[in-house]
């Protein structure tokens, strides 16, 4: 009794490493693998970064027509701060600081929490990007 002939392969063919030369879709597989790996690496990094946390201290910072209240905040080096920026004006403001590397829009009447942490001693200026005459500073000692 003759053995049955091998059936022709139907449907999508999986691309093995050995079959690369016959396999035109390898490039997108490689790209997918690379994306997967970089996503995984980044994910690990982010989990690691999220784990490194310290106690936080809240500091209220109000923005009125005349500027920031208080105009200067003091903090200890390395402290984790939660800046509670309240917009007391009638229009949106943007809390911004090149020194702190932060930028947040605050709608009128709202409070937004901006986190900063691990700062070394120094003077870190901030301003309202939409009304640049309003300025203040965080002094870290």
């Amino acid at each position: 009794m003759p053995r049955p002939l091998p059936q022709p392969i139907r449907g999508p063919v999986r691309c093995s490493r050995a079959a690369r030369l016959r396999c035109p879709r390898m490039s997108s597989r490689a790209a997918r693998a690379a994306r997967g790996m970089s996503a995984l690496a980044l994910g690990l990094l982010l989990v690691l970064a999220a784990a490194v946390r310290a106690e936080e201290r809240s500091v209220a910072l109000a923005v009125a027509e005349h500027g920031f209240t208080p105009p200067e905040i003091e903090a200890a080096a390395g402290e984790r701060l939660r800046l509670e920026v309240t917009n007391q004006t009638a229009v949106a403001i943007e809390f911004e600081s090149f020194e702190l590397n932060r930028e947040r829009v605050v709608p009128p009447g709202r409070t937004v929490a901006v986190y900063v942490s691990g700062l070394s001693p120094g003077r870190y200026e901030f301003f309202d990007d939409f009304h640049q005459e309003r300025r203040g500073a965080l002094v870290v000692k």
């Binding site: 690369r20 016959r22 790209a31 970089s38 980044l42 949106a92 590397n101 829009v105």
Partner: protein, 283 residues
Amino acid sequence: MIETLLIMWRESLEAALIVGILLTYLARSGERAGMRYVWAGALGAVVAAVAMGVASNGAAARLGPDAQEVLQAGVLLLAVGVLSWMVVWMHRNARQIGGDLRRRADRALATGRLVGLAAIAFAAVFREGVEAVLFLWGVVVQRADASAPALLAAGAAGAALAAATAWLFFRGFAFLNLQTFFRVTGILLLLVAAGLLTAGVNKLIGLGYLSPIEPQVWNTAWLLRDDSVLGALLGALIGYRSRPSLLEVLAFSTYLPAMGWALHRADVAARSASERGPARSAA
């Protein structure tokens, strides 16, 4: 007046530059039909930004500031994914610049890949669009007198100036031959993607979800200030910041080699495919 113009110039610059890259790329690859997708994405983002401005501002605010910031970070990270995929695709195209480019672009259109272009344009415009809407809204509310129209005109002029800046920037690419052009725009887009990723990470740090690990790795403000014209241009395009945190530097510098590897693999695959199939090179 000048301040309004400058703020709107800065807020619109990033969107103009990224939309500019996409349009320039499509124009030079002869794929003018794809431009519709880019414009659709950009216009959709303007509508979404206005809607978000209305939802988060004024008496009937329905969206908390944190939810808005998280949404923006999400749009940024999503755009990085789409952009990465686009760059790999563009790179494969650039290897086959020839008579069959138009056909390949048609094929891309057929597979719906140009939707990716719309997504990038959307993210780029949406990101700064919300801020621009809230800022202009403030201008109108604050000056409910005769000077409001003049200030709005200054804002519009700022946005137009940003478009002109982007146009001039990409005019500079016109002298490149096609092969070089696609290589340069490919590298530029990678840097744009790394910048968007860094911006998304920066938002998550500011929200307190991530630790910066080290808040300031270096300070290059003596070399290039964030608020200088070149600093703003580089900030808009590749996310330049004079004082980045360690986590942002890591995100930027992990992304680039990962993409470099993906592009290298795409190269290897394309080479073996063209060795294998003489039919393709003859087409």
